[in-house]
């Protein structure tokens, strides 16, 4: 029943996010094919291949990645921590379940929503490219859903955890955005230090999408492990915090 409640709480935001992301994917796929490669319908095989690769990198690796991160941050704000602000925590936490149940169930619903969202985005981009170029060049764009979902889970988990820390959705979102932008800016700041590499989740998503599109030979395995660990660390930290929290 908690799954149902989590879905009910976030469904409006989720549906709006999905519609917006799909519209962006269609729009930017069209722009790529039409204006960058100047073709609608069948074109020379090399151009078609380039259009697919370029659109996969730009639309999914760029636009959809950034949008997924933002959605993840926003969706995380309607998590368990918001129950404290709404003063409903003492109702929820006296239901006969361990506190870890509330944390992992709520987190799982959010991650599933994000996964569904990015899979739809990848499928829509794939469908749009197939329609615009007249044939299916490759199924690989669908695989971008994996790094996108992982990146989204990191952003979602960050706000989810910060919301539990702050016991307030809005504050959790503010903290989440702050940390997220620091994570985006640090690699830029470290540009003058060639030996210093600050990992960024967006960099991982873009890198993975480039590998899927065939533009990079090395799959970022290390980053995949790192960001998977970080994505799981946030709900785990939220669980530890909540188990020790007084309501």
């Amino acid at each position: 029943m908690y799954v149902w409640k989590c879905w009910r709480d976030g469904r409006t935001r989720f549906i709006v996010s999905v519609v917006a992301l799909l519209a962006l994917c269609v729009f930017f796929s069209y722009m790529q094919v039409k204006f960058r490669f100047g073709m609608i319908g069948a074109g020379p095989p090399s151009s078609v291949s380039q259009a697919w690769s370029s659109a996969t990198c730009f639309v999914l690796g760029g636009v959809a990645s950034l949008f997924t991160l933002l959605c993840g941050l926003v969706l995380g704000a309607s998590s368990l921590g918001e129950e404290f602000k709404e003063r409903t925590a003492d109702f929820l936490l006296v239901r006969p379940r361990r506190r870890s149940y509330w944390v992992w169930t709520g987190w799982s619903v959010g991650v599933l929503e994000l996964s569904a969202m990015v899979f739809l985005a990848a499928a829509t981009t794939f469908g749009t490219l197939a329609y615009l170029t007249g044939h299916v060049q490759t199924w690989r764009p669908l695989a971008t859903a994996v790094p996108l979902a992982l990146g989204g889970a990191v952003a979602y988990g960050l706000t989810y955890f910060m919301t539990v820390v702050a016991r307030n959705g809005q504050q959790g979102l503010t903290y989440g955005f702050g940390i997220f932008f620091i994570n985006l800016l640090l690699p830029v700041a470290a540009i003058y230090h060639p030996n210093l590499h600050v990992p960024s989740v967006l960099e991982f998503m873009v890198g993975a999408c480039q590998w899927v599109a065939g533009r990079s030979k090395a799959f970022p395995t290390g980053s995949l492990v790192l960001w998977t660990a970080i994505a799981l660390a946030f709900p785990f930290a939220a669980q530890l915090l909540l188990e020790r929290a007084e309501v």
Binding site: M1, Y2, W4, K5, R8, D9, E86, R87, T88, D90, F91, L93, V94, R95, P96, R97, R98, E246, V247
Partner: protein, 312 residues
Amino acid sequence: MNDMAIWTENLVKLYPGVRAVDGLNLNVPRGVAYGFLGRNGAGKTSTIRILLGLARPTEGRGRVLGFSVGREQVAILERTAYVSESKALYGSLTPRELVRFTRGFYPNWSDEAAAKYSRMFEIPMDRPFAKLSQGNRTKVYLLLALSQGADLLLLDEPATGLDPVVLDEFLRILVQDVIAEGRTVFISSHQLSDVEQIADWIGLIDYGKLLLEARLDDIKSQFRLVTVAGNGLPQTESPEVLLLASEGNFHKYLVKKNADAFAAELSRQGATVAEVSPLGLREIFLALVRKEDPCTSGNAGEMAAPVSSFLS
């Protein structure tokens, strides 16, 4: 301790600058209605929150329905229904959706009971909770608690916003549908008259300390206010004489038991016994928390021999 619905030993809860619960020893038998009385801020809600695992005790331990507080919390929560003081629920959900949300957590949930109480309380089941009046919000909370089939109902100021008709109906339900089935009701309130209607046992708390725990019948049959006139009478407290006050030569004693023997002893000391009168729960409550007459004047006067010496 396992035969008790609630048992606590030296329970202490400290908040910064506040000793909310101070060495509380509760013994709530199973199958009774227990009135947990106290002023605002006396420690009633803190105690309940500890029992439910919402707060951790600083010291002490407790058991609820035989399960250890803190260590076997899920087992406690499966068997316990709780009505919180705040009555806050999800504003966007309707009472019908709240029932749907809650029922899945409880194996003994009764849809028949939920339907019955929703009709009885005349709850608008399809209006969002946020748009309900305070009274209707309380009714929804009560509906959810009563339908759980819980062995123990922990009710924290459950009558908030209820009109007299619904309140009367609710108290009747507690007696007929809950206590009569051998389940336990622990009702925290400062509405003494409501509690007095149904309670078998009374626990009185102030500044986190339990001042009194006794059967209500015993309180009514044995507690007496003894008013005497005389000089050199005992002016300190003992376990049997809970409180005393002096105004000039007049002294008032709240005597827990053997009031006639106590009065006779005072007579032998040369005092004139003006009155030995029974006390209502309200008068005892006021006397014990030292807020008003009958026993408190704030002028205890010169210390004399302890009262216990007169009772021994």
